[in-house]
């Protein structure tokens, strides 16, 4: 296959934000996740847990609560006191509405989905009616003494439970008055703590209220009498979250010690109808606070300060013991945060509020496989570009020539011109951006850096001509559907532009004639990455189910190779990978090669070689030794895989013989997190 010099980059100092809330939607099998920086992500659990949508964060918008209502409408509320609804098609915020109760700590949608309840800092519980295109304030419940930290509806919708500091209130929804007030014991292992915060409540249909609190207790209350039924002390620290299964036969809680406990309703004796709640399984998949948990029909979902989103399938609920039954830990975003200027060997790193530009180093030495070469020049940090305003960066791109940098936030689009004079670089912002370029979901430069393609959040695709620092809007392709486009690919000759949304097919536009060329047939799974090959103009598309298609744009049909692959099927190990392919590129001199990578491997597909079947070894890290060429040729297959670099966030070919790989070791991320609760370990 060949030898490469690999620039192994570990200075991308990316730290994902901690997870604050998760909300599972049973109808669509999707999970909404909000992070501490206000970002909201949507994971499609049916599509191999792919992160198909995201809403960029905002400094002042700390999301404290997230819920689905009215079927598939997503709401969030936070410490800025606003309730927001997200537009899942256009990928923007539909509206934000002040609840006028101070910071909002909790929110819950009614069982019917038509009402929304928020718990505020001032102790008020406010009921909102969900109208088809907005929400409308209905009334306040009896004001409580202190902030309402948790809310739960009774499945019948007649009562709610509200967790506050030191007590739990039960409200009658009709009258809005508190029916019961249940005082939570402050005592913690004999020591009276200052306060006992009820972090979570769950109201079951039999009238039981389950509460979790800062004293490490899980308690069961009888809402009819307002009495404590049972108490489990499960942690030495706060129990911060609770989620109950729809069948109400199991629930999950998360603690500040990083432990997740599973409780199940188990018969007291076999064959008896009398059942009791029993703590069954503890899981320790987190190092830090588990701020939030969710309970899907088949899995426990947890997230917290350590930034991992963990799916723990319940083995007894899993029908077939296939790869779906495995534990999943999602740490990195399923999109590319890095772009690269091949010509100048530059890397542009995108962070939440700034961009970093780095120049790769060089070496003159050569070596054999596995050698680390002495550097003649180290990598340089050229630029640190901070955004103005509180909004997070949505996307960014550096042009292949290295002279342009573009990025966008929700409200503004920025384009910069870079000038290189020896070792100095100067940066100049291109001002007077047209109004329609307000916000972009994806930015891409053409190979010759003369054109800029922008996918706006209104669904339109803009083509902008760049020439020597000036700027000219050429054309806008009007949206084919309401769905926003979040992936772009342009052919190296600049003639073709492909754009893809999250679910509909890939649209291919003719840039010369400025018209829609064709639409690649829609596929069941979302596109995770795509690219157009040089010369042949074959569009290579990777989907979240790990399928890879090759579509010939000139012929408007799938290529023969792609058909062969589909006929034979991918190797089972290839299909079992659990991270999506996030980037595809091509070898400039070898048209038969496709380079693609996910977080744990990169692969060069050599289309000239036979495909592997399930019997062949997919991944063989060892060089053929002492074997005759015949055997080597016989065992060789199209997939050349390397797992040396991981977790791999970006990989591209700089030139024929040079690769750049950006790794982000998990240890480096953990080192930057706040310290976890110290637990006494034996011998320390």
């Amino acid at each position: 296959m060949g030898e490469f010099k690999v620039h192994r980059v570990r200075f991308f100092n990316y730290v994902p934000s901690g997870i604050r809330c998760v909300a599972y939607n049973n109808q669509s099998n999707r999970l909404a996740v909000s992070r501490t920086d206000g970002t909201v992500e949507i994971y499609n659990l049916s599509a191999n847990y792919f992160q198909e949508k995201f809403f960029p964060g905002h400094e002042s918008r700390a999301t404290e609560a997230l819920c689905w209502a009215e079927g598939q409408r997503l709401f969030s509320a936070g410490l800025n006191g606003e309730i927001m609804e997200y537009d899942l098609q256009a990928l923007n915020i539909k509206y934000a509405m002040d609840a006028f109760g101070g910071p909002i700590w909790s929110m819950a949608a009614s069982p019917s989905g038509s009402q929304l309840l928020v718990g505020c800092e001032d102790g008020s519980v406010k009921l909102f009616q969900i109208t088809p295109d907005k929400i409308q304030f209905e009334r306040n419940f009896d004001r409580q003494k202190s902030r309402i930290l948790s809310l739960s509806w009774h499945p019948s919708g007649t009562h709610i439970a509200a967790g506050s500091i030191d007590y739990i209130s039960v409200f009658d929804v009709k009258s809005g008055s508190a029916v019961h007030k249940m005082i939570v014991d402050r005592q913690y292992m004999g020591v009276s703590k200052r306060k006992c915060i009820v972090w979570g409540v769950a109201f079951l249909s039999d009238g039981t209220i389950i509460s979790v609190d800062s004293a490490g207790k899980v308690q069961f209350w009888d809402s009819a009498t307002g009495t404590l039924v049972k108490s489990h002390l499960i942690a030495n620290a706060d129990v911060q979250s609770i989620a109950v299964a729809d069948q109400e036969d199991s629930f999950v809680v998360g603690t500040a010690e990083g432990t997740v406990f599973h409780f199940q309703l188990v018969p007291v004796t076999s064959n008896s109808s009398e059942k009791q709640w029993v703590r069954t399984k503890p899981f320790q998949h987190h190092t830090h606070d588990v701020r939030t948990v969710a309970h899907s029909p088949t899995a426990l979902i947890s997230g917290g300060t350590d930034t991992h989103l963990v799916f723990r399938p319940l083995m007894e609920k899993v029908e077939v013991k296939n790869y779906d039954a495995a534990l999943r830990k999602i740490t990195f975003p399923h999109r590319c945060l890095i772009s690269c200027s091949k010509k100048r060997q530059l890397l542009l790193f995108q962070f939440a509020h700034h961009l970093e530009l780095w120049r790769l180093g060089s070496t003159v030495a050569t070596g054999k496989n596995g050698d680390t070469l002495p550097l003649s020049k180290n990598a340089d940090h050229l630029l640190h570009l901070k955004t103005k305003g509180p909004e997070n960066i949505i996307c960014s791109c550096i042009s292949p020539c290295g002279s342009w940098i573009a990025y966008s936030t929700v409200s503004r689009f920025f384009l910069y011109r870079l000038n290189y004079e020896h070792d100095n670089i100067s940066l100049k912002r291109v001002s007077k951006m047209p109004a329609f370029l307000r916000s972009a979901l994806q930015i891409l430069f053409s190979e010759d850096s003369t054109k800029l393609f922008v996918a706006s959040n209104q669904g339109a695709l803009h083509i902008v001509q760049l020439s020597g620092g000036s700027f000219k809007h050429l054309h806008a392709f009007q949206p084919q559907s309401v769905e926003a486009m979040c992936l772009l690919a342009v052919s190296p000759d600049g003639n073709w532009l492909a754009a893809s949304g999250t679910s509909a097919g890939v649209h291919v536009y003719n840039v010369k004639q400025l018209k829609l060329h064709c639409t690649v047939p829609a596929y069941n799974f979302p596109v995770t990455a795509m690219a157009i090959a040089p010369n042949t103009n074959n569009l290579v598309i990777a989907h979240s189910d790990q399928q890879v298609f090759e579509y010939s744009i000139p012929d408007k049909q799938y290529t023969d190779w792609s058909r062969t692959v589909q006929k034979q099927g991918f190797h089972h190990l290839w299909l079992q990978r659990d991270t999506p392919i996030t980037h595809i590129s091509f070898h400039p001199k070898r048209p038969m090669h496709i380079l693609l990578h996910d977080a744990y491997m990169f692969c060069i597909i050599d289309k000239s070689l036979p495909l592997p079947n399930d019997k062949t070894l997919l991944y063989n890290p060892f060089p053929p030794t002492n074997e005759s060429d015949v055997i080597r040729r016989r065992t060789a297959h199209a997939f050349k895989i390397s797992k040396i670099y991981k977790p791999l966030l970006f990989m591209d070919l700089l030139d024929e013989r040079t690769l750049v790989a950006v790794e982000r070791p998990l240890d480096d991320i953990i080192a930057q997190l706040p310290p976890p609760i110290k637990k006494k370990k034996f011998g320390t």
């Binding site: 296959m1 060949g2 030898e3 490469f4 010099k5 690999v6 620039h7 192994r8 980059v9 570990r10 200075f11 199940q264 188990v266 018969p267 007291v268 004796t269 076999s270 064959n271 008896s272 009791q276 029993v278 703590r279 069954t280 007894e316 013991k321 180093g361 060089s362 070496t363 050569t366 070596g367 054999k368 496989n369 596995g370 050698d371 680390t372 070469l373 550097l375 180290n378 990598a379 060069i604 063989n620 060892f622 060089p623 053929p624 050349k640 390397s642 040396i644 690769l659």
Partner: protein
Amino acid sequence: MAALEEEFTLSSVVLSAGPEGLLGVEQSDKTDQFLVTDSGRTVILYKVSDQKPLGSWSVKQGQIITCPAVCNFQTGEYVVVHDNKVLRIWNNEDVNLDKVFKATLSAEVYRILSVQGTEPLVLFKEGAVRGLEALLADPQQKIETVISDEEVIKWTKFFVVFRHPVLIFITEKHGNYFAYVQMFNSRILTKYTLLLGQDENSVIKSFTASVDRKFISLMSLSSDGCIYETLIPIRPADPEKNQSLVKSLLLKAVVSGNARNGVALTALDQDHVAVLGSPLAASKECLSVWNIKFQTLQTSKELPQGTSGQLWYYGEHLFMLHGKSLTVIPYKCEVSSLAGALGKLKHSQDPGTHVVSHFVNWETPQGCGLGFQNSEQSRRILRRRKIEVSLQPEVPPSKQLLSTIMKDSEKHIEVEVRKFLALKQTPDFHTVIGDTVTGLLESLCPDLMEIALKKKDVQLLQLCLQQFPDIPESVTCACLKIFLSIGDDSLQETDVNMESVFDYSINSVHDEKMEEQTEILQNGFNPEEDKCNNCDQELNKKPQDETKESTSCPVVQKRAALLNAILHSAYSETFLLPHLKDIPAQHITLFLKYLYFLYLKCSENATMTLPGIHPPTLNQIMDWICLLLDANFTVVVMMPEAKRLLINLYKLVKSQISVYSELNKIEVSFRELQKLNQEKNNRGLYSIEVLELF
């Protein structure tokens, strides 16, 4: 968990129970309804849940019921026999027993037996059996005599096994007991003699039986208060021959043997039996439920008014005569959910797991002969799990036993081995046992090692030690005593397996080197730390004869092989220690010498192993040295001849400790080396590397 619930009496009506109690309690065709026959003239049908009688029938004054009324489940009618020969059949509508169907038989009836799903059987006092229908067709038919004169039927029970009616009855003649098993369909009658074992003068007070697959498990409560189990095959191998059955002790002293009142026993389910009787001679009578699997008393209930020593069990009810009234105690054995207690609900159908069969597939023996002996299986784990056996072409009697063992279940093997041991010893006894023992468990034939110990049969003991994974510590220690005390000349004659012993005299040249080495090692030790300076000095003056002593094996090879078998056997320290104290001091010294010698041999090579096929391991040697010293330290210390040995041991231990502390230091250095290695892999933030893809 088995439990007895609150008792209740069936009626306030005082039954005319004679001194013998009731005649019987039998099921009727409706659940919850039972036929109670008193010892006089009356049959009463009770509904248990209502605690009241539904009907009552009496025979005429002057007549007497001699056989409890039963229900013919096929017709729903009731059958009773009065005056030994007169059979009456009636149903619920009949009022007067005089007016119902009557048949006079030609012989005296012992009992009518009826179970669900088959026609009732009539058992005559002479042992003949007839179906009710066949008997009614010709009531005056001639009834043959099956049992001999003076033989009396004591007890009987009727089973349906795989839809075949099987009748068992026990007879007694001059203190001997016989069991008859009648396969009713095939009309095969098999007679067994029940061997009572050593305790010849015990009398069996009560019987009960349960049936599983191939065996009738006959449980008997003897006058010594113990419950014994006898397994009777349903399908006999050789029906013509008079066969004998051996009983095995199931539960010890559950009731007082010499109680005034009667005792009764009934099997409740596979694992539980109910016993009626006084636990102590003077105490009041009790109904107790025992778990025979775990040998534990599950529950018990005092019956202060005394009973008739009769007990019946149907469905979930135990019936007994308490004082003058018929008392019912419901018995429940609910499956307690461990899952519920532990919070783990078992998935009912887990495709990943399968039940491990209790029965061994004999077609594919897992181990064979020597190969099996060498296998390093954890013997404790094997307990009651697998039985492996190797088949070798052998002399007929052993072959017969072996083939039985190969074909049958664990329980059957137990029966066969017991039978074999109970018989007189044959000339080829050893050979047979030798072949049989391979793969058996000690607990299956506890008498075997006892006999071998009595006869000082070291060859057999070695075999047992090698093969049995579950030898009690007391037996292990008894073996050790014999191995240490037996004379060299008598050892000469035996044929002991020598595979664990290596001829150490071969590499005596190497030994010299070893001795030098220990001296060098001594140099690494700092004598200043030593608190026993003069003894150390004394030690440093190494006499020539001591060297010789430590290099030559202190015991003959055959004895070494036997001792190695002890070293290999499994034990638990707590149970072994008290027994070790009983061994004479000179034997302890000898054994210590041998262990010291083995330890020196072990230290000769870097891997710390002994040569040979199956040698004792270093850990085994060390453990036994510790054990012996723990158990007998005060004794050994006082012995002048052991002094040198102890000093040598002490010196050796000390030098070894110093060696290991040095090794510790080296280990720390190497750990640093490992750290260096790790750092090499941990690269900086940026590097350019060469990668070749293949």
